[in-house]
Symmetry: C2
Subunit: 102 residues, 2 copies
DNA sequence: TATAGTAAGTTACGTAAAGTAACCAGTTAT
DNA sequence: ATAACTGGTTACTTTACGTAACTTACTATA
């Protein structure tokens, strides 16, 4: 569909990314420092298939960087960029809203 | 699936709601005051089917109230509760992040 | 030599959610 | 009688998500 939101393209674009399932939780994990694929996977009920897909999206959007260490077995670490870390107040805002209004 | 997120149930619960498609945009619309069904529908490319579904969810979660005016044709107005309005800083945070990091 | 183990994925397939379009009820205006 | 309006609902298609098995590359164990 090519129809464009009359309203607030900024919010709309951001939600296309952040609103996808698991995305906010992945960013939340990475706010505490870089993590390996399996660490993220076992911290939440996400499948490898979708985690891989989400991390690629986040990398493409410039929120996450991927670093490969050629050890045995291979180690891959994901971490937030400045753009990703800039979401900290948003994530924390959602958390505190949730806490206050449950 | 019954598996529980080890991490941050607050963020997880909030994102189950706010992360659904269109939900944040609907709340954004209502931050400027109450709106009719058709007003919301025509402000973004959402279908009646899904708008109806989302508004019911938001009403059930206590973020939105629904008021019927028995005029001709009928008028139905949706507005935010305090719980809904409390999301203003979150929505504005996402907007400004989006503006800054595009 | 074969077997198994590990990390980080990918592939194939089934189900659930979202998108699209047509339709409906109640009332009024033409 | 016909059309028009709002606020939906129904039926159907397409896309996203969930599950489980498999893959690659290397190592350690029997």
């Amino acid at each position: 569909m090519m129809k464009e939101t009359a309203l607030c393209p900024r919010l709309s674009n951001a939600m296309d990314l952040l609103g996808k399932r698991w995305t906010a939780l992945i960013i939340y994990q990475l706010l505490n420092g870089s993590k390996r694929f399996n660490e993220i996977e076992s911290s939440m009920p996400i499948s490898g298939r979708l985690l891989s897909e989400r991390l690629k999206e986040l990398e493409m959007e410039g929120l996450v960087t991927r670093k490969i260490y050629s050890e045995v077995p291979v180690r891959v670490e994901y971490s937030l960029t400045d753009k990703g870390f800039a979401l900290r107040p948003v994530i924390e805002g959602i958390e505190s809203w949730s806490q206050q209004w449950t």
